[in-house]
Structures are given as structure tokens and as C-alpha cells.
């Protein structure tokens, strides 16, 4: 009877897994890092490098957003939280270590001939005062305005730079992660959005049909983010409770040190010079 055989097979496989788990003694030091999905891929690479040079230490990287990073640290589910923004005043119970900077740039479709947009024009687009490209330059059709979901630090930085209130924004498409913005803009020649400069730089080199446009007058490059001349940027932080355990502290030193700067650049962020 195949049916019963399958049942027995499934159940015994589960039992075997559970049995193996019980016999598995936990001797290693385990550091749990959770939080911002912007930082998580970078942190994964840092963790891999750290594990390679520190046998006996396991660094588990989880994701789910900055707020989860904070709440997991507070619930003691995690040792380190990843937060892709500056900490607020009511978050003084945790200590932050800045590891990198990330800038925000506008993106348009590669067919869009506009070279730059003034802050006033961007403001007009995002508040719905201008709804067609004809009003802005040599491009036509209705503008598709792409913005980020409330709570995302990129949105906060963007509206703060433009001096707008979140309620003034009139967007057609609201997205979560950078890659979603890239895919929406790449699929719609009349769309405009804003994303992390690192991601924009990568896609420019990867022939994705999008183009980065500066906010302000400084060219949107990660070099300009690193030297501080590009005005629209945010910090990427690791947060812990003050006075963390020794292994956690050692990992924090590693993650904010010179030895991971190549990884930070590989992920198109700008290392924070402390």
C-alpha cells in the first residue's frame, strides 16, 4: 500500500531529523543578527568572512526590516539589530555602530532624455502639480510616480530633503524594496522613482534600462556619498544593548573595521569612516 508507505516514510524522516537534533550538542558561540533587508545581504557576506576566520563562531543573519531588528534586540531574540536609518530620541536604550552610508537618487527609464530635474520640478511631480512630461522637457506622456511605502527611511529622507509632508505625496505606484522600484521603472518609460544610489550604480553597469538623476547639483555616485558632498543620504547602523557580550563586541569591531570595506563597496554602499 503506497499510501501508508509514504506516511511512514514522511513520519520517520521527521523523527530522524528530530532525533539528530537532540543529539546535536551546541558548543559553538552563536551570534544572531536581525533587521533591515537593505543591510542583510551585506551582513551575510560579512558573517561568512567572519566565520571563516573565527572557527567555532556562528553568525546567523536574519532579515525582516529595521523595526524588527530593534524589536528583536529588545526581546532578546537577537544580539545585534540592523537599522538602515539614524536612531530616534526614544531609541536611546540601544547603542548604534555606524558601518556604512547609502545615498538616494532619482531614477528614470533609459529612453527618457531628461538630464536633470530641479528640486522644484521633483516637488511638482511628487505633489501631483505636474502630471505630464511635456511640462518638464523633451519627453511626453503621463508621468507614473513611483514612491516608497510609509516607514521606509528612503521615503523619510526624500520628503525631508524636498521639504514636503508625507501626506503631500501623490504616487501611482508605491513599492517596498529598491529592486521593485527598478523593475517598475525599467518596465515603464514614463515612470520616475527614487532608490539607493548603490543599486542605481549597479543597474547602470548591468545595462538595466534605467538612469540615475541627481537630487540637488552633486553627481549621484557612491564616491560622493562617501565624501559627504552628496546631500541626500542615510546611515546603516548595527544596534545592540550597551556593553554587549565579548564575542558580540568582537564581531561589531570586525563589521565596522577596514577588513570589510571591500564587501561594503561590493554591495554599492560607502564605508563609514569612523
Amino acid at each position: 500500500m503506497p499510501a501508508r508507505t509514504i506516511v511512514i516514510a514522511i513520519l520517520s524522516a521527521a523523527l530522524a531529523l528530530a532525533g539528530q537534533a537532540v543529539s546535536h550538542a551546541q558548543q559553538e558561540v552563536r551570534i544572531v543578527v536581525t533587521g533591515s533587508s537593505t543591510i542583510a545581504p551585506l551582513m551575510m557576506d560579512i558573517a561568512q568572512r567572519y566565520e571563516a576566520s573565527h572557527p567555532g563562531v556562528q553568525v546567523d543573519v536574519q532579515t525582516g526590516g529595521s523595526s524588527r531588528g530593534l524589536s528583536d534586540v529588545r526581546r532578546k531574540l537577537a544580539d545585534i539589530g540592523m537599522v538602515s536609518r539614524a536612531l530616534g530620541r526614544e531609541e536611546g536604550d540601544v547603542a548604534a555602530t555606524r558601518i556604512a552610508w547609502d545615498g538616494v537618487a532619482l531614477i528614470v527609464h533609459a529612453q527618457n532624455p531628461l538630464e536633470r530635474l530641479s528640486d522644484d520640478q521633483v516637488r511638482a511631480i511628487y505633489t501631483g502639480e505636474v502630471t505630464r512630461w511635456e511640462a518638464l522637457g523633451p519627453w511626453d506622456g503621463p508621468i507614473t510616480v513611483v514612491s516608497k511605502a510609509e516607514g521606509r527611511s528612503t521615503l523619510g529622507i526624500f520628503v525631508h530633503y524636498l521639504g514636503l509632508d508625507i501626506r503631500d505625496i501623490r504616487a501611482h505606484t508605491i513599492i517596498g524594496d529598491n529592486e521593485q522600484a527598478v523593475k517598475v521603472v525599467a518596465g515603464n518609460p514614463r515612470a520616475v522613482g527614487y532608490i539607493s544610489i548603490g543599486a542605481a550604480e549597479y543597474h547602470a553597469s548591468a545595462m538595466t534600462p534605467i538612469r540615475a538623476i541627481a537630487l540637488g547639483s552633486v553627481a549621484p555616485t557612491s564616491a560622493n556619498v562617501a565624501n559627504g558632498s552628496y546631500p541626500v543620504r542615510r546611515e546603516l547602523n548595527l544596534v545592540t544593548y550597551p556593553d554587549p557580550a565579548a564575542p558580540v563586541e568582537e564581531f561589531l569591531r570586525f563589521a565596522s573595521g577596514e577588513q570589510v570595506h571591500d564587501l561594503i563597496s561590493e554591495h554599492y554602499f560607502s564605508p563609514a569612516s569612523n
Binding site: S36, S37, G64, G65, S66, S67, R68, L70, G141, P142, T144, A149, E150, G151, R152, S153, D165, I166, R167, A171, H172, T173, I174, I175, G176, Q180, K183, V184, G187, N188, R190, A191
Partner: protein, 303 residues
């Protein structure tokens, strides 16, 4: 002579090692009820988690702010869910309108049209459709479907795109469950109508489907539930602007998409308000079920 003692010895062995039957029966009944209670407990667990999460926002803003408010600016203290409730209903109902009939037709095909091999192959197709991750549907919708709609009726990310993607995703659930329902019918029903001279399509339409009304409706109900709760794929194609769904080309936001979009970076009351979105969604499903009970009546065996 040889078989007689062996029977006696087998009976004795059973008596010797067996637990008293009354105890076994009692244990069995307890296990049965425990299973039922567990199903209720699973939902209670989810409800409790949502309720704990919702408490701060509900106590601060009150339920009315959520149910009556028009705008959703949670960091500025505006928590209106009306537009999102309407959008959730519109997208799910649209998906069910497409996937329901299609799914039932697919079930009918497997049961009454396909040969053994074709039926089995088609079931593999349906099951594979069910196992494609939401992201993949979403990616397909974002990179193939949405640009097409955008070229025709900008911005492209729209209620329509959501309905199309969601229909494809819900269809396997409806089809497989409806097929299980059709299987439940005694074969004499279909064969009998054929013997009486019914054409195949007439037997299916007039005899088979009406008799399987309960399970088929249950299949649609689960399909609808699945549509109401679907998150990632919908989030990627509907545009997520908080607005009443006044046109199929309008950008809208559903309740699950609201949670997934903002939960990652929400704190304090904002986070709590997202839990309220979850509660409202569950209340909507509860209400739909209650309506079904009310109109389905007691003669409907499934509900």
C-alpha cells in the same frame, strides 16, 4: 482439526495483549475532539497574536478611526482602512469571478472529459501552478503584464493586473478542491443520467454540478479566502496607492499588501495599526462565512 486451535490461540493473543476496548474507544474519542479543538486553537493562536499586536493602536485611536477614516497616514495618526477593505474585496472578487468558473471547468475536465493519462497530466499541471512561489507570479506580473497594461492605460500597476495574477494563483486551489468534490458523488448519478439519454454536457450541468453544489461552493470559498490573504504577488502588481478602486486601471492597495509593505519598517503605533489591518481582514472573512451560513441554509452539507 489443525485450523481450530490456531483460531483459538489467535483470539487469546489478542485478549492478552490488548487494552480494554472501552478504554481504546475513549482514547479515540478524545483524540478526535482534540483534533477538532486544535484546528480552532490554531486560529485562536493567530487571533491572540493579532489582538496583542493591535491593542496599542486600538486603545489609542479607537476602532472608529480605522473603520470610518478615509486616509491612511499611520505615522501622522490617520488610520482609515475603508479604501483598502474595498480594494481587497474588489481584487479578490474579481479573481474569484475568473478563477471560480475556470477552476470548476478544469475539475469537470479531469473528472469527465480527460482520459486517464491526460487527467493525471493536467493534475500535475495544476499542482505545479499551486507550487510556484508568489514572487515568481509577481515577477512575471511586474515584468510582462504590467508594462503591457502601462502602454495601454498608465500607470499599469492596477486592480486589473492584481485580478489577473490572483486568478492564476487561486485557480489550482479551486480546481483541485472542486475535483475532490466531484469525486465524492456516487458514479451512478453520472452514469445513470447518461443511461437515461442525457448528453454529457447536460448531465454535468443539470445533474452532476447541482449535486456537488456543497463541495464546489466550499472549494470556491477556500479559493476566495486564499485570494483575500495573498500578499507578495499582489503587492508587486497592484501599485499600492491607498485609493478607492474606482477603475480597473487604478492603483489600489489590499490589506495583506499593506501589512507586508509597511511592517518591516514600522514602529510603535504604526506597527500596531498594521496588526489591526490583519484583524480587519480576518473579520471580513468571518463576515463572508456568516453570510454564507445565513444564505446557504441548513440543507447545505458543507456549511
Amino acid at each position: 482439526m489443525t485450523s481450530f486451535p490456531s483460531i483459538i490461540s489467535r483470539r487469546r493473543r489478542i485478549r492478552w495483549h490488548g487494552t480494554p476496548n472501552a478504554l481504546k474507544d475513549a482514547v479515540f474519542v478524545v483524540v478526535l475532539w482534540a483534533s477538532g479543538v486544535l484546528a480552532i486553537g490554531a486560529m485562536a493562536g493567530v487571533l491572540i497574536v493579532l489582538a496583542i499586536g493591535s491593542a496599542p493602536a486600538l486603545s489609542q485611536a479607537g476602532l472608529a478611526a480605522f473603520v470610518l477614516g478615509a486616509d491612511w497616514y499611520p505615522t501622522a495618526g490617520e488610520f482609515g482602512l475603508v479604501a483598502m477593505v474595498a480594494a481587497t474585496l474588489a481584487v479578490s472578487a474579481g479573481a474569484l469571478l475568473v478563477a471560480g468558473p475556470l477552476g470548476i471547468l478544469c475539475a469537470v475536465y479531469i473528472r469527465y472529459y480527460a482520459g486517464d493519462l491526460a487527467g493525471a497530466a493536467f493534475r500535475v499541471v495544476l499542482m505545479t501552478l499551486a507550487a510556484i512561489p508568489s514572487v515568481v507570479y509577481g515577477l512575471w506580473g511586474m515584468t510582462v503584464l504590467v508594462p503591457h497594461i502601462a502602454a495601454w492605460q498608465p500607470p499599469g500597476t492596477s486592480l486589473l493586473a492584481g485580478v489577473v495574477v490572483l486568478s492564476i494563483m487561486v485557480l489550482p486551489t479551486v480546481a483541485v478542491l472542486a475535483e475532490a468534490g466531484l469525486r465524492q458523488l456516487p458514479s451512478s448519478l453520472y452514469l445513470g443520467s447518461l443511461a437515461l439519454g442525457c448528453a454529457r454536457h447536460a448531465a454535468i450541468k443539470r445533474i452532476v454540478l447541482p449535486s456537488a453544489k456543497g463541495p464546489v461552493a466550499a472549494a470556491c470559498m477556500l479559493g476566495l479566502a486564499r485570494a483575500l490573504g495573498e500578499t507578495m504577488a499582489v503587492l508587486m502588481v497592484v501599485g499600492n496607492a491607498v485609493a478607492m478602486p474606482d477603475s480597473p486601471f487604478a492603483s489600489v492597495r489590499t490589506l495583506p499588501a499593506n501589512i507586508a509593505l509597511e511592517m518591516a519598517y514600522a514602529i510603535d503605533v504604526h506597527r500596531s495599526a498594521l496588526f489591526v489591518s490583519g484583524l480587519v481582514l480576518m473579520a471580513m472573512v468571518g463576515l463572508l462565512l456568516a453570510m454564507r451560513w445565513y444564505w446557504g441554509g441548513p440543507d447545505d452539507p458543507q456549511f
